[in-house]
Each structure stands twice: as C-alpha cells, then as structure tokens.
Amino acid sequence: MSLELRNIHKHFGAVRANDGITIEIETGTLHGLLGENGAGKSTLMKVLSGFHAADSGEIMLDGEQVELASPEDAIAAGIGMLHQDPLVFLPFSVIDNFVLGSPGHRRLDRRKAKSDLRGLCERYGFNLDPALPARLLTVGERQQLEIVRLLWLGARVLILDEPTTGISADQRGKLFATLKSLAAEGMSVIFVSHKLEEVADLCDRVTVMRRGKVVGEVELPVPPEHLVDMMFGQAVEIRGRYPVPLGISHLTIDAVRTATGLLSEEPVSLDVKAGEIVGLAGMEGSGQDAFLRICAGMRAPKHGTVAVAGKNLTGKHYRDFLAADVKYLPAGRLEEGLIEGLTITEHFVLTGADKRFFVDWAAGRRRAEDQVGHFNIKGTEASTAESLSGGNQQRLLLALLPVNLKLLLMEHPTRGLDIESADWVWEQLLARREEGTSIVFASADLDELLRYSDRILVFFSGRVIGELEAATSNVDEIGMLIGGRTADVDMGNSR
C-alpha cells in the first residue's frame, strides 16, 4: 500500500511538533525516518497511527484520502504501529495478547488463533510459546509478537518506532531480515530511529527530520556524513575531554555476585577512583542496572564486598550508602526522583543539610531561588516538580545533589532529553568530576559512552563481558561486545 502524507501540521501549545510534513512512501519499500530526539518523528507516527489528530494536512493511502481520528481508524486502514515499548499485556499469555482486540466471533477460538500464530511464526522464523505469559518474553520477542499480530490483522503499513532499543544484536539481525522479507512481500515499512547506522543499514530510502520539518530525503546508500549533515546541520564534533588527576578509590567492588538472576554467575570487580567516569554498556536487562543498584546499596550481593572510600558497606542499608556520600539517580525522573505536587523549595528542604525539626522556610526559599538561577531551571521556587519539562527536571535533580558527593550513580542520564539539555547535563557532571566525584553511569547511547567515559564496562547476559578504555575504543567494538561477541567467542543468543 502506498502512503502519502501531505503538509501535516501538529502543534502542542506553542511547540510546532510537525511543521508542514510531506512524505511519500511507496509500496514494498523500507522507508527510514531519521532524526534526533525531539525532531518530531514520534508525533508524526502518532498522527499516522491515529493517536493524535493532525491540525491540518491530508493522509492518502493508495491515492485515496483517509481520516485517521482514532487508532481504530488506523487499524481499519491497515496501518499497524509497533511502539518502542511494545504495548503488550504483561500478565496475559502470548496467545491472549495475540488475539486481544481482534475482530471476529464472540466466542474466542484459541485453537484456531494458535494455529494461525504458529503459521506466522514459522513463516518468519519466530519462536513464540502461546502459553507463556508475555512478561517472560524479551523485548525482542515482544516485538515479534506484535509484528505477527499486526500481520494477522492485515496491516499493510508497518511503523516501527525505535525498535532496536533494548534488543540483542542477534534479535536485531532477525528483525531486519524479517522487515526485508515483509517489504519484499509488498508491505510498506516505516523505520523510525535516531540511529544513523541502522537506518543506513536497513532502509531503501530515508527522510530526515529536524525540529519538526523535513530537511531532506535521499535514496540509500549514501555516505554517512551526508546523513549526519542533514540530521544536525553540521558535523558533530567529539567534545574534548581533558584528563583529570585521579584520586583515592571511591568505590571498590570486589568479586560481587548476587544469589539469583543477573550477576549471579560470574563475579564482578570494579575499582573507581575519585574523578573517574565509568560507563556501563549493554542491552536492557543485561545487568548494568542491577549492578548500579548494588553500588547504591539498594541490593546486597550474596558474595563479595562493596566498599565506599575504604569503608566496607556490604549488606548495609541504602541509608548508610547515602550517608557515605553515594547518590543514585534512577532514570524515571518523576517516578523515582522528584515528587509530584511538591515545589522546588520543598525538594531542597527535603534533601538539604538542615535537619532541624522546624523548617526555616525563608532560608529554604532563598536557597531554591539561588539554585534555580544557578542551574538555569525554567521555573520559580514555587513551581511543582511535574510542571517542569524533562530537561528542567533533570536540572533540578542535579541541583538537588549534595555538594560533596563521592560517588554518583546514574541510570541513563540523558534519556529523552534534547541535545541542548543533554550537553548541559554533561557539563555539570564533568564539573563535578573535577571536584573529585566519581561517576558511574549506564547508557544505551554508545556515543555518549565513548565521549565521556574513561572506562567502559560492557554487560551481556548477566555478566561483564568486557572492559575497555574509551579513548582507544570505538562504536563497533562496543557494539560487538554488547551483542555478545567477544573477539574470539560468539556468545550468540545464550540465555
């Protein structure tokens, strides 16, 4: 089915997320939609899949105009969307997920559905157990489930939104092969991503978006610098990193292993000195987040020791780690960091050093105003946490950090942030580093890892599979390790 978007406009408040987008996608092509976070790709796809109504513009399918006012309309029109976090029902079985929402008889014939599912799986080489609850599937498998479901419903346009976040290299290979054969069968595939290499690898054509507009469209293959140029407007430079003298050990992890699950099979050891930045790489669920939690004192290892600045804190409560100047910032800013309904001042009072029973609000407000200015937070001391944008929330989180921090542990420090905010975050983190703070962070962004880390630990399947010096490594090397391939051994899909 051929698809044409004509002059699509969509705004949210003052933000023009889509500013006159026109794209043509031919039947049976793999069409990439490339752009940085915040370029407007997701909004456009939400319009196309019926989640948002465009303010103006037309959508043509096979030359006929269609109204896509709801997801129901989009499904009826044959448009299927695979979300970045596949929208599956976790406690339900695979077969129930497959069938839920599909049209048909009142009575649910699971047997027929199971045979349909099996047929589709065989055709594309998937291996899905119908009885398994979906929460036991990997992200890659959930994607497979969604794909066969959309195919079963008769999708003729498949939109994939950032599908390679959190899947193994092997599964990615399989996904790409599947997409290629789908395209060959006449499916129109839209591949939305900010990952240049993947788009270049997979797609036939690419549309590049920047700040809500289409800035170019090319037929692949094309030299990557060309794409970079279109995405960013200029070549991206690696921010210079200047060496900082390292101090004493702030974190010593010695042969740590958990009782069950991730990190239970092979011991992990790490020594982080003052002023050092260590990046943790790996696919989602490979063990980096679990490792961070051990470093933060949120989880006690069964074997091995955890010491902070020479003090043995193994098995001690999270609060003892806090007292030892260790701070853990999870990725969910509002879910696990800030408190909805509380003002900026209240946050500062909560995390402040003044522990007296009665609060000095005047002093608290002064401090908050101070920090709001210093960290350039768009808001006032009385703003509530949820009224701030993502970038400003991150600024607030960093502003709330105690002054003398020995160890800062961060989960995905710049996830969901636009470039400007991301740069600013790292500016702050590097400033902290100069003051002697050690930083350990997990990230899915290989560029970020290479740019800022001194060392990188790569996790795979619940163990550390490699340790690299960032200065001498590159994206390919890390990528291989993330996928489980060491120089001599291909760990493949071992799980």
């Binding site: 999270y318 609060r319 879910e335 800030l338 408190i339 209240e346 909560l350 007296r356 009665f358 609060v359």
Partner: protein, 354 residues
C-alpha cells in the same frame, strides 16, 4: 469569569442546590429542617438562655469528630486511607473505660490517665493497621476494616461478659463510670473545656506539623511518591507507621471523650460512626486543618440537631446523615467540575496560541 471565582462559586452553588433539592424531595421546604437542626444543636436564636445543655452536647460531639479528622489529615498526607479509624476510636474508649473502672487515683490524675490510656489504645490499634500494611502487604482499607470489626466484637464481648452491668447483662452498656474518672465539665452540661482544649491543640499541632516541620514534609513526600522519598533517604516504612500511630493516638483520645465525656459508660456503638464521619469532614475540608474546625462543628450540629426533625417535622432524624453525605458528594463534584472547566480553558487557550 476568573477561574478562582469559578472555583469557589461553582461548588458552593452545587452544594446549596443539592441540599435544597434534597429537602424539597423529602417533602419540606429548605428552611424548616435547617432551622430545627440549628435549634436542636445550639438553640434558635443561637446561644440563648437555657440552651447550654444542647450546646454542651453539640460541642462534645464536635470533639471526637474533630480529633479524628485531625488524625486523618496525617494519614491522608501519608497517602493512606485509614478506614480503621473507627476501631482506633473504639480501642481508645475501651482503654479509657478500663482505667475508669480499675484505677483509683485523685481526679486530675485519673482523668489524665484515661486520656493517656485512650491515646495508647488508639495508637496501638493504628499501629496494627500500619504493620499489616508495611510487613503484611495488606491494603490498609481492608486491614483497617477487619480491625474495625474486631474492635466492635471486642466491645460487645466486654459489655456482655467481663464488664457487664451488675444484675443483668445488657446491650445498653456497662455500669456508669465513677465520677472521678469522668471528664470535668461545666455543671448541667457535658461541655468539657479540657476536651475543647485538647482538640484545638491537636488541630493546631497537625497544622504546625505540616506547615513548619521537616517531619511533616517528609510525611507528605512519602504520601505523594513513596519511591522517590525512599531514594531521598526517608525511612518510608517508619513514617507510614508513625502516621498511623499519630492518627491512632488522636482517635484514641476521641474514644476517651466518648467514653468518659459523653456516654459515661461503654456502649456497643461507642464510636458513633464518628470515624467515618471524620473522613467525610476531611474530604470536604480538602485536607486543611483549620477548615476541620468549622466543618466538624457543622456536622456535629447536624448530628445532634437532626433529632428534632423527627419530633417536630415528622421527618426522620436520619435525614441528617443523608444531608451530610449529600453535602460532601456535591462539594466533591462541584470542585471536580470547576477544576474540569479550568483545565478545559487552559487547553483551549494554549491551542489557540499555536
């Protein structure tokens, strides 16, 4: 119309409208029942000669409601629905009854002991709900409810067996407590200035707790986002338990007031459902401590004064209870509607500017 004005007028209009509608439906004009309720509780014209007994009763109904409401503000701030408040009042009453019956001491000491015992009883019962929640993973609504039932059963058992009236065991309650154990009151009435003082102190205390203390701020944090609070270093379980203990203690003292300040004995329905009523009060007061004072008093007036409806207007006294429910429900919906319109306005305004 400005949004703040709408936010105030809309709910008020809805509340007045539904109250009027209710009364009209009940077969009477709106004024008579209201006048009778006022007359039955504080006299009409209010506070005139000879109404001191009534006023005393109304105030002593206000005391447990307001105390419980003050406690509930604490648990609500911690994000908990303390349906167990009834049981906490009851256990306070039971503890105070025990002291009244078993302990002999000089009057001031005895009274102080009944209050302390009441607070302790309620505190323990509240702590139980908290422990069931933090250690047992039982939703506090059901833990509280179960303990409410146990408290009622305990009361009934005590009244019928170990503490039964000399002579024939009766569900009308235990023997009257000795004078020395009763809350000191103004002659001829039940009105106890001590009880009023304690209640006001409790309310002010709760207000200060949340306005000006770090403890209160941490409680709020725990109530809004337990996870983030934990990551900030707040010992969340301890704070949850603390909230239940504070509320339980205040509820327990409400129980003491009921036992030694109103009924002067232990009766089966010693809590008078004031716990649930207090929940309504807090919802209506939008969790603000100072609003608890007038709203509790208003509800107490309805509770006491609605007995007049039966006598004079041939309307059931239960109309009072219905009125209380209608007031809160319409206020909630009025406020919800006003907020809804406000959100609509903002969305429309922002969209236009794009």
């Amino acid at each position: 119309m400005s949004t703040r004005l709408t936010n105030l007028l809309l709910p008020t209009a809805v509340v007045l409208g539904s109250a009027t509608g209710l009364l009209l439906l009940a077969g009477t004009n709106p004024w008579d029942p209201l006048r009778l309720i006022v007359e039955g509780s504080i006299g009409w014209p209010p506070f005139e000669e000879g109404t001191s007994a009534k006023i005393g009763d109304t105030v002593m109904v206000w005391v447990p409601i307001a105390l419980a409401a003050a406690g509930l503000i604490v648990t609500f701030s911690a994000g908990m629905w303390n349906i167990g408040i009834e049981g906490q009042i009851i256990l306070g009453a039971i503890a105070a009854s025990w002291v009244a019956r078993e302990v002999s001491a000089s009057r001031p000491v005895l009274v102080a002991l009944t209050l302390l015992a009441g607070a302790a009883g309620g505190l323990l019962w509240g702590l139980l709900v908290g422990v069931l929640r933090t250690a047992g993973g039982v939703n506090e609504i059901f833990g509280g409810l179960g303990l409410d039932f146990v408290a009622v059963s305990l009361t009934t058992y005590l009244i019928l067996d170990p503490w039964r009236r000399s002579g024939v065991a009766s569900t009308s309650g235990t023997d009257i407590f000795p004078d020395d154990a009763l809350l000191p009151s103004l002659s001829g009435t039940r009105l106890s200035p001590l009880a009023i003082l304690i209640t006001l102190l409790a309310i002010v205390g709760v207000w200060i707790l949340f306005r000006g203390t770090l403890y209160g701020l941490k409680l709020k944090a725990v109530g809004r986002n337990r996870r983030s609070a934990f990551l900030m270093g707040v010992p969340t379980n301890r704070y949850l338990l603390g909230a239940f203990m504070i509320c339980g203690a205040l509820a327990g003292m409400a129980g003491t007031s009921q036992a030694t300040g109103f009924h002067f004995k232990l009766i089966p329905s010693i809590s008078g459902n004031y716990g649930f009523l207090a929940i309504l009060v807090v919802l209506l007061a939008r969790f603000r401590a100072f609003w608890v004072i007038p709203i509790s008093f208003f509800f107490a007036m309805i509770a006491v004064g609605s007995s007049q409806l039966d006598l004079r207007l041939d309307l059931s006294s239960t109309l009072g209870g219905v009125l209380q429910g209608v007031l809160v429900l319409s206020a909630m919906f009025g406020m919800g509607w006003a907020a809804f319109r406000a959100r609509r306005k903002i969305a429309a305004g922002a969209g236009g500017a794009g």
